[in-house]
Symmetry: C2
Subunit: 475 residues, 2 copies
């Protein structure tokens, strides 16, 4: 059976694009190991189709053999969703060779690209046309747009432009049966039936394989300014967010919050970055104002906002970056928090969302709960406050052995945090997805009727359960 399948795969994509362990010189570990090094799988083969028809042929070959398929883009996901299991029977479908830009329509503000396009290349293609593709996240230099869509990626511009879902108008998809849905629409309105596009987006390869997408572009703002403010509390941060939304409208393109301990780690491990204002305040926020008029106008707006914030006691101090380099420096501090945290030692990561209004109470309650249950625990709390999305990470007590801490405390910490998230009407995965990592936890926190609906859909569209099985849902 295996031989027949490999033969069918080779005839689908050509011998050179089917890599197996049969050849001892071939190293497949880059495809078999997940980004954070948590999972080391073993694929039957790594298959690298060059076009949509080849993807369809691969899917048909796998369906005929009952073999399961794991699609993979840049393999930068954080929830173990794109690597094979250890059985040695799964086919790893790498989309990276499909990286063509198919069409750019500047008057329609759309860009049609293949799934394997690297996010940064998509951004650059838009920029060269004087337009903006706003999706932006840490892995943009290696993640692919197919993976971004399969996981409904978030990032730093969601507040204004939405997540990957909101930036896509049409899809081309190979179904579990190997049929091709030609849905590359560049339409902003289309009410001719069920929303298949959004069903496929975020389904993590379990319902079909995204091979291309028509993306929504935006005009480039003329100016983009960054400010940094020390705030006396999370309550003040939420109030400042509301004020900024009222005064800047859609100009507010970023609103990040960072806790004092998180910033202290950046200061400790990357002192050259010169973190501003962190010593005096429990939280700092980073604001971005994008303006279609002029830098002068953006600056005047920002100054008006920050003056009002200082007057109303919502901020104790604030700075506006004077140059692009300064603005990049402020963002760099924000983006260095995960690295500083890694320098400090292993830790337990959470990617949660809570209604914005309830974030202060959630943090007060959960901070206290963890401090009581695990004396000395340290909280690295930061994230996209404007989206209600916190990376609420838990670091071992000072001088404790971090590996021991993870081994003994991770499941208890997760339980405490996720139960608090559920009490506050939140989500245990805001932007990273489910993958294998959270598939067993999800049923404890998701509405059972929603899970039953999801299962019905999965069974209807993938009755053989060959599409990335064990991700999102277990059987």
């Amino acid at each position: 059976m295996t031989t027949a399948l490999l033969q069918a795969l080779r005839s689908a994509v050509g011998d050179a694009q089917v890599l197996t362990h049969e050849d001892p010189a071939t190293d497949l570990s880059a495809w078999e190991t997940d980004w954070r090094g948590r999972a080391h799988g073993r694929a039957l083969a790594v298959v690298r189709p060059g076009n949509t028809d080849e993807v369809a042929a691969v899917v048909k070959a796998c369906a005929a053999a009952g073999a399961s398929l794991v699609p993979q883009g840049g393999n930068t996901g954080l929830v173990v969703g794109s690597v094979p299991d250890s059985s040695g029977t799964q086919v790893l479908l790498s989309l990276t060779r499909m990286n063509a830009v198919r069409a750019l329509d500047t008057a329609n503000l759309t860009l049609t690209v293949e799934a394997g396009c690297v996010l940064q290349a998509v951004q650059q293609t838009a920029e060269k046309a004087g337009l903006l593709f706003p999706l932006s996240l840490a892995a943009e230099g290696s993640c692919t747009i197919g993976g971004n869509l399969a996981t409904n990626a978030g990032g730093t511009q969601v507040l204004r432009y939405g997540n990957a879902r909101d930036l896509c108008l049409g899809l081309e998809v190979v179904t579990a049966q190997g049929d091709i849905w030609h849905g590359l629409s560049g339409l902003r309105k289309d009410n001719t039936g069920y929303d298949l596009r959004n069903l496929l987006i975020g389904s993590e390869g379990t319902l079909g394989i995204i091979t291309a997408a028509t993306l929504k572009l935006h005009p480039q703002p003329l100016a983009r300014l960054t400010a940094w403010a020390a705030v006396p509390s999370l309550d003040a941060a939420v109030a400042l967010l509301g004020l900024a939304q009222r005064q800047l409208g859609a100009g507010l393109t970023g609103f990040e919050v960072m806790g004092q301990f998180a910033l202290s780690l950046v200061d400790k491990h990357f002192s050259a970055l010169r973190v501003p204002l962190w010593r005096e305040s429990p939280y700092c926020v980073l604001l971005e104002n994008s303006d279609s008029e002029s830098e002068e106008h953006a600056r005047a707006q920002f100054e008006r906002l920050l003056e009002a914030a200082l007057e109303q006691g919502l901020a104790s101090d604030a700075v506006v970056a004077e140059s692009l380099a300064q603005a990049r420096g402020l963002w760099h501090i924000r983006e260095s928090i995960p690295l500083a945290q890694a320098q400090e030692g292993l830790n337990i990561k959470h990617d949660i969302s809570i209604p914005v209004s309830r974030i202060p109470a959630f943090c007060v309650e959960t901070d206290a709960l963890l401090a009581r249950e695990i004396p000395g625990v340290r909280l690295v709390n930061f994230g996209h406050l404007g989206d209600g999305n916190l990376h609420y990470n838990v670091q071992a007590p000072e001088h404790a052995n971090a590996a021991d801490f993870l081994r003994t405390q991770e499941s208890e910490v997760n339980r405490l945090v996720f139960e608090a998230v559920s009490r506050y009407g939140g989500s245990i995965s805001a932007e990273h997805g489910v993958g294998s990592l959270k598939v067993d936890t999800l049923p404890h926190h998701k509405d059972p009727v929603a899970l039953a609906l999801m299962r019905s859909i999965k069974t209807a569209l993938d009755p053989q359960n060959t599409m990335n099985p064990g991700r999102v849902l277990t059987r």
Copy 2:
């Protein structure tokens, strides 16, 4: 069987809320006749539940009896999607009694309402809290938010704020099995599985019944200005749209186009409205600029834009409304086109979308095609150009008998227009939906794989085919 079902319905919602033809004094025609008077059905009963548990009980009673259910909100839809068929066996489920506002969270910018809330009441609730619920359409005084979501309604603010889908964060839904999915999330990010919310939105009651929703609110703009420009061509209108998007950014909240013949009908039938600039130009556009800063700033921006447009030859003349009354007057002209058209006589309506960049070529080709095939035909072309959405309506030749014209030409006109729409990568229903009206046409214009996926989903979620059967899909 029928007696047992009626008994079960009465015990579910109370005798007073089950209306039938048994009582000759009861007139059910308001529920049985569609908005445009095209369909006159006959219901077994009109059932009016008062809460979600009652809806679930009604659905269970119908499922047990194998009776089909037609959910209805304000019954203002344009595609015959919310009235019973003529069999006298369908249960009409009216949601209008469920009209409570359940929660307002100003810091989270969310409003949770029941399905039967009238859209205008939702808008007013937001406004009283100093916030904006931007969905706005002609029927807002009587349509319900449940119907808006079930049909993914569009309207005049889609360009900036999106359609109903983009304005909803969470749903409460009764499934075809009578289970309740408690999905009233106020989260902006939640990647814990398939996007059930967007699957239900726009499914026209065929997959489940929306009983409540958590809606996304926006800050109220401080100023909203309206301008009117005469443009020399549709090409110029598209170029002006691009310029406005670059200069105003997200401030551009409306961009409507109106053909000269459409405006001539308003001038003819409602001369008091004083249509500006229409005589000199084949098209006029209406622009709206919403500003979070000040009216002065909005006006300066508008003047800068219109000066550039005149300089570049994208407009031949333009006016900016000087007062709120003038602005309302301009919008009123735009909104009077359908009424003026009705005054002129019966006509064939289309609600199509095309990629914005291809609209000029589509209109040139299709205008010429129709003129050739039906000498003397008159085109009432207007719509939401910023969304690529045209109401491309076809009026009988002058002095022709309009009823005869419709009877003899409607199917041929539809065929010509829809085939042209398909050639240009468009949609035959941009914002009105499918209902019964387009259910037989859709398979000729929709990707067959997409249709097969839709059918699989329908069968999986509603295996008995009791939820609004015959809408969106035929068996």
